[in-house]
């Protein structure tokens, strides 16, 4: 019963991921300028290496490239000629979309236009870098958010002192896009003129060998700025709703009872109000994933980290469509699974919400 519900949700999630990836595939491939024009680039650059002086040989090279990338085939099963007279053509299974989909169903994400490597081989190491970064940032942000929200909710009446400052800062940070936040951090903490505390160049070449204390220290130092940016980016959206719920819970009768027992306000908030206030936090927690993924794009580009975000941004800048579409597919699947997981967690923690199937 419950199994079928999860199964149906899973099916819908996969359907949505397929839908969005297909939509992007078709949009990108049907745009007027084909990617081979970007890949071939300026003919004068290639002119010295391969003799592409004549327009005939350039045409031949373009044709060969299009054939190698599979772009000489029609995009979809059914295509319409651009000029007059308008004719519709049925191409059967020999089209780019069918090839992409059949490769995908066999677990192959395709091959990068730029390097020719399998997309999975490019994404694997990048994911191995980005996922620990995101998990670490999420864990840190959650811990910090709970602590901050407890502190803020405990202040009765008007906020004073550090609480007022923290509250103002949080609202300010919430307004700013992440990249300006990271830039400010970069300018403050990794500036040769001001405070040159931390390295900003991500993975530099003079990197100590894997393992050992030196490696760990260097790795940690390189991660501080990106991690700080990501944590600050998600902190307001975690803290402010939690604080509102905590305040509401602290006004409830059971909180008064706990106070009248003689517990300190911190104990009341931590032991009694927090468990009840954590349930709505699950919603913010699923909202964390999109913010994190978007955040890694910005942070990895700015700090030159070899993760999925930079891979996506570079692929988009170089028109490497297979890589872009694979990233979108992975992201949407992760997002859908996160939503499903949040629902399952809700039903598990609060039986009142379970679907009556």
């Amino acid at each position: 019963m419950s199994f079928w519900w999860v199964f149906a949700r899973l099916g819908r999630a996969l359907l949505a991921a397929w839908g969005i990836a297909s939509a992007i595939f078709l949009t990108v491939h049907l745009l007027p300028a084909a990617p081979d024009e970007f890949t071939l680039g300026d003919p004068s650059e290639l002119g010295s290496a391969v003799s592409l002086r004549t327009s005939a040989s350039r045409q031949a090279a373009r044709q060969a490239l299009r054939h190698r990338l599979g772009l000489d085939e029609p995009v979809f099963y059914l295509t319409r000629t651009a000029g007059r007279p308008v004719r519709w053509q049925w191409h059967g299974r020999h089209n780019q979309y069918h090839h992409w989909l059949s490769l995908l169903l066999r677990g192959n994400l395709g091959y990068s236009y730029r390097t020719g490597q399998p997309v999975a081989a490019l994404l694997g190491p990048a994911l191995a870098y980005s996922i620990p970064l995101m998990v670490l940032a999420a864990a840190l942000a959650t811990g910090l958010a709970i602590w901050l929200a407890l502190g803020l909710a405990n202040a009765s009446g008007a906020l004073t002192g550090w609480q007022a400052v923290a509250r103002t800062l949080l609202t300010g940070i919430q307004a700013l896009p992440l990249f300006s936040l990271s830039l400010a951090l970069l300018l403050l903490l990794a500036n040769p003129d001001l405070l040159n505390l931390l390295p900003a160049d991500g993975m530099s070449t003079d990197y100590p060998p894997l393992g050992g204390v030196a490696w760990l220290a260097s790795y940690g130092a390189h991660l501080v700025l990106p991690l700080l940016s990501l944590v600050l980016a998600v902190l307001p959206e975690l803290t402010l709703p939690l604080e509102a719920t905590l305040r509401q819970e602290l006004r409830a009768d059971y909180a008064s009872t706990a106070r009248s027992k003689g517990l300190t306000s911190w104990q009341v908030a931590y032991r009694h109000a927090l468990p009840n206030a954590l349930l709505p936090l699950l919603t913010s927690f699923t909202g964390l994933l999109p913010t994190m993924v978007a955040g890694t794009v910005v942070v990895e580009v700015l700090f030159a980290l070899p993760g999925t975000g930079r891979l996506l941004a570079e692929a988009a800048a170089t028109h490497d469509y297979p890589l872009v579409i694979a990233s979108v597919l992975l992201t949407s699947i992760a997002r859908m699974l996160a939503l499903l997981l949040a629902d399952v967690l809700y039903f598990w923690t609060d039986p009142r919400l379970r679907p009556s199937l």
């Binding site: 992007i24 990617p35 519709w88 300018l187 941004a313």
Partner: protein
């Protein structure tokens, strides 16, 4: 007096500052082609590359310095405000409008409110066949039209000669359609979706506007749909139905204005979100033509010249003030609305 002034300081002053700043940005954006700037935007001054701000010296001055490609920061700032007016503001307005219409319709009619006769289906296919110029368009469209006329006639006859009716209609699943496309669009984070769709050739302002509209409408649609579900059950809508007004008129004149009330507080936040998205795109250098002036593009040049604080100070503060002012405006609008709220929650 001494009691009143803190309230003024904390409530009125930020509000006036916010409105003043927004007016300044709008004015700068509107007047930017006419302002007597020492340097035009998007033209490199190769003699002064990454020059710090200069306030005295020979010739025209770079009052706010130049970026690593020699562009004047002041000109870029002013024309960046124009970019906000040309891109983020229209995109947010269009997205809010589209979201209001789609969400309002989805909430009002639901999945079973819009009943269409089966005869409309072949007629629609015929029209689509004609427009798309599918093969044999004259013959096929005619055949489909004849089928639709036959269906209409049979419906008319069955209504006339038998009591049985009502099962010959098709319910248009408007609610599922709107919610489904909104879910599909929010399956991927906004930034990732925009970056993926902008992977093709540079889009220019028009293409980017469509892209921002596409990613921004679902939020407004969800908000209006939720409010419409509440409004639909109100007595005044029922009264309008009882009077016998057509559904479209009830929707447009009576229900939609009420369902759109939360949008007033939402719109400034939507503008702020799109400004953030647009400047992030410009920062990443994706989608925009390299000649377009944007605060985000200016900020994105910092990693090439890490000590050039003047590259961050101007556009960073402008961005911060604009976003904070919009947040303040949204807060004020929502507080204003709650004080005169009519509908019970």
């Amino acid at each position: 007096m001494s009691v009143r002034w803190p309230a003024w300081f904390f409530v009125k002053l930020p509000h006036q500052l916010a409105l003043g700043w927004l007016a300044l940005v709008v004015l700068a954006g509107l007047a930017s082609p006419m302002l007597p700037l020492p340097y035009p935007p998007a033209t490199p001054d190769l003699l002064h590359i990454a020059a710090p701000p200069a306030w005295s010296g020979p010739g025209p001055l770079h009052y706010l310095g130049t970026d690593p490609t020699g562009r004047d920061v002041l000109a870029e700032l002013v024309f960046g405000a124009r970019q906000l007016l040309l891109l983020s503001l229209p995109a947010a307005a269009a997205a809010t409008l589209l979201g209001a219409l789609a969400g309002g319709a989805a909430g009002f009619w639901g999945n079973r409110g819009l009943a269409i006769s089966w005869a409309a289906v072949p007629a629609t296919i015929a029209a689509a066949w004609w427009v798309a110029e599918l093969p044999q368009r004259l013959t096929s469209a005619l055949i489909l039209l004849i089928i639709s006329i036959l269906l209409l006639a049979s419906k008319y006859l069955s209504l006339r000669y038998s009591r049985r009716s009502g099962n010959a209609t098709l319910f248009f699943p408007l609610d599922s359609l709107v919610l489904g496309s909104a879910t599909l669009l929010s399956a991927v984070p906004r930034l990732v979706l925009v970056v993926a769709l902008a992977a093709g050739p540079p889009l220019g302002t028009g293409g980017l506007l469509v892209l921002l509209l596409l990613v921004a409408w679902p939020d407004a649609a969800r908000l209006v749909r939720a409010q419409m579900l509440r409004v639909r059950a109100q007595p005044f809508v029922e009264a309008a139905r009882a009077v016998g007004l057509p559904a479209g008129r009830i929707w447009w004149r009576h229900a939609l204005p009420h369902a759109c009330r939360p949008l007033w507080a939402f719109a400034p936040l939507s503008v702020a979100g799109l400004i953030g998205l647009e400047s992030t795109l410009a920062f990443l250098g994706i989608g925009l033509l390299p000649t377009t002036s944007s605060w985000g593009r200016l900020l994105g040049t910092l990693p090439q010249e890490p000590t050039a604080w003047w590259l961050v100070a101007g556009p960073g503060l402008a961005l911060l003030f604009t976003l904070l002012a919009l947040q303040r405006l949204a807060y004020w609008l929502s507080a204003n609305q709650h004080s005169q709220l009519v509908l019970p929650k």
